[in-house]
Symmetry: D2
Subunit: 157 residues, 4 copies
Amino acid sequence: MAKVLVLYYSRTGNTEKMAEAVKEGVENSEAEVDLKNIEKVEPAILTDYEGIIIGSPTYYGLSAAPVKEFLDKSIKFHGKLTNKIGSAFSSCATVGGGVESTILSILEAMLVHGMVVKGYSDIGHYGPISVGEPDERALKECQDIGERVGNLAARFS
Amino acid sequence: MAKVLVLYYSRTGNTEKMAEAVKEGVENSEAEVDLKNIEKVEPAILTDYEGIIIGSPTYYGLSAAPVKEFLDKSIKFHGKLTNKIGSAFSSCATVGGGVESTILSILEAMLVHGMVVKGYSDIGHYGPISVGEPDERALKECQDIGERVGNLAARFS
Amino acid sequence: MAKVLVLYYSRTGNTEKMAEAVKEGVENSEAEVDLKNIEKVEPAILTDYEGIIIGSPTYYGLSAAPVKEFLDKSIKFHGKLTNKIGSAFSSCATVGGGVESTILSILEAMLVHGMVVKGYSDIGHYGPISVGEPDERALKECQDIGERVGNLAARFS
Amino acid sequence: MAKVLVLYYSRTGNTEKMAEAVKEGVENSEAEVDLKNIEKVEPAILTDYEGIIIGSPTYYGLSAAPVKEFLDKSIKFHGKLTNKIGSAFSSCATVGGGVESTILSILEAMLVHGMVVKGYSDIGHYGPISVGEPDERALKECQDIGERVGNLAARFS
């Protein structure tokens, strides 16, 4: 059975709430899911999953440094993540606050790993965004990407 | 006296309303302003201004093709826009709809022209964004960037 | 049998040479391939393929306007390209000439279409790049992505 | 007299060599220059300079985590860097290796700080890049941006 890993970093709890909704979404898919705080796991974990979804608050238009540190350490598994399905989400403090560029920066790192990154035609196109605490729309979009990435990973593995 | 050019493309009128607010902002600065529909001017106009602000709706996470066509034609003036002040704004249809990446794509083209591009610490960081018709916040941010780019162009020229 | 479409725009012939190498690569995969000049086809064609690879020269850090015009017109098929495999390549005039941002801009448009976009761990990470006329390395990378996208599309369909 | 800060992170020495060339360039300008290893300074230093140039190796298409950590900590001075001149440079391991996206990610963080970011019409457009050890072209471009940012900071302050 395909497995999806939802990784997040969160200080205020906003990104964590989004991560939990993503997890619920994967549970509605044909894949299994694990939800982990990115500071409590090592990059070796990445090789166990067919889908990887990473959430971060928006800090200076990019992911938080602990997320980047995790990505840098993942170089030990460079070449081992080829064709895994990737997606990302982010919360930010203000409208136009760099939240899309944060998601895109995570997707870029995934592309460097040789992953395939999923976009969305009908919700936040690069991934779900939230301004402040996630509202119903944001949480629904998080569930959506969880379900879609889960089904894609299932079909793909 | 420093002059700022506000260029826009608009189909629904949303980006045009933002452009008008940007123009009002420049009028509150130490610079003069002209507002032009990008389809009705030629790139030669760019050389007459110390500040250039471009607005576009978000089409597929990037500026509308007519804006890109204008930028491509501006190659005739490559090297002539060095150190002019640049900024951009965009309206999109949905939350997370590619509006930041649209602004960033315009800023990237300005950087290729050797321009200096202004960011904002307290409003939409790359430039003002609107989801659908611009609300009071979006219009206020448009005025803000007009005034700030105007004052920067004045100080710079 | 899965089918891959290679679309390109080229004025100097550099991007066209890359496109031909991409085509050769797909021929080494389990998928079929068509190679088309983007100015000679309509966006309706996109719905016939499981994989779509787009090449453009780098104009102001972004794809050429005719490529953007094609993407804008593809809105008629919005929602119809979900989960198709996407990739991109570009040639530019100078080192650091905006060629990565050109590729990323095409990938962003593909994400907005809900496509899944492939990265590469061992070659140009976002897609193959060439500075000026494509050399052996660039052409080899173009063949590589053709083959990999072809095999991925085959596995996926 | 205007002052420019050149900050870098380097493990192999490639980015450090670029940083030294940037410093030489500033010495040819009307501004003063300090060169610092980003791990040995605190963000408070940023407020002392009119120009800030940051160099990082390319790790997963983005700046190295220690650079991001420094940027995250710079939030204490949010709003204090408005209109300072910014620029960036990067070295990477392979052609198309994410080096432009690394530079752009640093520029994005600078924009979030309200800085003005300089582009280049005749050299690496977003900033100088090197693939592996910097060659003569790369070092010359580093000198160029040092001199240009220095003169711009002098004119601006």
